[in-house]
Symmetry: C2
Subunit: 461 residues, 2 copies
Amino acid sequence: MTERLVVIGGDAAGMSAASQARRHRGPGELEIVAFERGNRTSYSACGIPYWLGGVVDDAERLIARSPEQHRRRGIDVRMRTEVTEIDLDRRRVRSRDLERGDTAWTEFDHLVIATGAVPVRPPLPGIDASNVHGVQTLDDGEAVLRSLAGNPRRAVVVGAGYIGVEMAEALLRRGLEVTVLERAPQPMTTLDPDMGALVREAMTEFGIQVVNGAAVTELRTDGDGRATTVLTSDGSEYPADIVVLGLGSRPNTALAEAAGLPLGESGGLLTDVSMRVRGTEGVWAGGDCVEVLNLVSGATQHIPLGTHANKHGQVIGANVGGGYATFPGVVGTAISKVCDLEIGRTGLLEEEARAVGFRFVTATIESTSRAGYYPPTAPMTVKVLAELRTGRLLGVQIVGRENAGKRVDIGAVALTAGMTVEQMTGLDLGYAPPFSPVWDPVLLAARRATRAVAEDMRANG
Amino acid sequence: MTERLVVIGGDAAGMSAASQARRHRGPGELEIVAFERGNRTSYSACGIPYWLGGVVDDAERLIARSPEQHRRRGIDVRMRTEVTEIDLDRRRVRSRDLERGDTAWTEFDHLVIATGAVPVRPPLPGIDASNVHGVQTLDDGEAVLRSLAGNPRRAVVVGAGYIGVEMAEALLRRGLEVTVLERAPQPMTTLDPDMGALVREAMTEFGIQVVNGAAVTELRTDGDGRATTVLTSDGSEYPADIVVLGLGSRPNTALAEAAGLPLGESGGLLTDVSMRVRGTEGVWAGGDCVEVLNLVSGATQHIPLGTHANKHGQVIGANVGGGYATFPGVVGTAISKVCDLEIGRTGLLEEEARAVGFRFVTATIESTSRAGYYPPTAPMTVKVLAELRTGRLLGVQIVGRENAGKRVDIGAVALTAGMTVEQMTGLDLGYAPPFSPVWDPVLLAARRATRAVAEDMRANG
């Protein structure tokens, strides 16, 4: 008998799940219906800042697979159709066609919830002005481009996380004067403050004005409903012709919550290792609407990231398709760049490690991404956290130039394997002068951390 | 009572050991005497091709620490002094001052043998011609520069291993017509033939003539004792104004062998995990004169590489200094580049895996080092070997452009941790469009290999 898979959300997690399930089971065995309330499927939201900055010339390039391409693979994609209710008892979802307004019930054997995240948009006066933009969807991006077409001179970016710093670069590339307002004492709160300070320094050097400790209280607008000035709690005013919001996002789980599905502290859906929603049969969830297990902290958390969403989709699709796959969890890896500054992290920050009860040493080293004599030598700073006594690696943070960022992968694999920093010092990493000093900077930091663990043992053992 | 550490060989392994031992024990506790038969200490031989290619402007930049700098740290460096005998019974070495010719015995409590490797130089007619060069030492490099000063037009490089391809790039940068002659069917026998073929393709594209299956039989010389033509066994003749040899090297262990110390199949010294020569007390060895344990094959092998030498030195120095450190072994990681082609490998090649009894599947994928839409997208090919049934990772090979090579580090850590390719598919690697597609190419290859393992099980399980 043909089963039916219903997918809510036509982006990375949902459509990967659909595609993978289709690979396992043909249309005679499994009917697949995917509901997407927007106009597009399977596109790279992470690419939007690069499109807006002019690095990627066309938004079409960000689309991995169109609705039509999915349909050709036997996936019944219903665009501009919003799921408004999940009825778990009768195993069906109610959807509404946003064009025609009519609603319908669709029964499912398997359900994939891939509703993504919604950007944080605080209810400040003026936040709905026409030149205040989020950058989560391609439609957001098009709105930014329309604002840019008016030749704005001054941009204010609110928030200095990944999207904030990437948008700062994009606007700088467009020739604007860019000010970034961040509530925290440093940009990139995904780094420890000492590492975040290096990012601020570099951004300033690139010509971006970075204001920390700046909580936005209001956006003053003109008669045309356009924001003209951003006000912060200390009474400062920042003139702006365009405002971009980079304040992070929250799991989009109102629908799941209404259906009584279990949510974690962040509001993300809770799943087991097979990406099945906890306590259900045949209800799966993945992507930006779930919480993932952090293998280092042992806690679940919300990490909206395309690479996780794709893995979730693959796992769900394999399981729905009758195969077996699991998502083991994450170690908190993230990389980004601002102009030519590369920023990477994996594992836990100091504050995160303390919060779950770890005690640790830290070691920070400065080195170069190539042999010191091989120009251009690019500086990089690596910080390592290691647990007291055991010396287990808890985290790696990197701020540097060319070839710095992806080195967090070394830490990511070592964290996954539960290595100690001393074990890391013996790692056989690729060495040649154009690629690395004879001691890779990550190993150098691991050596320093190994020494710090020993010194702590001697002092407090 | 003051002990004495004697070091034979003033380069990476020897001087790292000396420096590290000095950090642990001051001059009142430990006297350190280092013998070096050449003119320099602690320099980066791996940097020589980049100096000769003009990337590094001055050979001085390759010198990490001069004899004088070592002396200031309390290491009695005896330059141009060759150790001619190790007397293990009376725990002393005999040395000869190469300037004055006089010899002396020096007693030791600890001995470090760091005599390095000697380049392979087959006894072919003409091989001692004045314009035929090895590139192992700075003196070799100076001889190459002298030949280059005569404005040669055509260069022949014999051997297409790391040194061979790096020197091909260097000579190309100097404006010469470059021909590389390699006995094997492909350049880079450190890769599987299918991956080596990609290197040949790229080298040809860069304007380097690569001739495979070409065994050199003779170098024809003119009346001035200069090589003019390189002859190969198939009767071909390659005119040459300069010839560079890149035929690999052998452990330099005649001295150790004469003292009755244990050597492996390659002629390298055999040590235990503390880098102590097997069966001895207080005799240590490291760097290019030892064999290292390959953690994947379970066998020892000769891998002359500066990064291993430095680690050996650190381990020896810590142990001599009264601390405790071990060198766990290698996984066979190596990277290099020719022009903008990056080449990386870790673990075992097909032939190596078969030779030690593994049966395996392979998976090869083509991807890009950034998101496909983020220009410039650079292609890369990743090949993965995974053991049958267990799916254990056995090796990773990468050939690609910018940001390809160092990705072998992911494989190197995974090999060290004994991960399966299926475990690798869950790795939380750094993702952002400027750095990686949403599936890192290494993960993509691991996924493909996971599928191949399963297919083999289904077929042959």
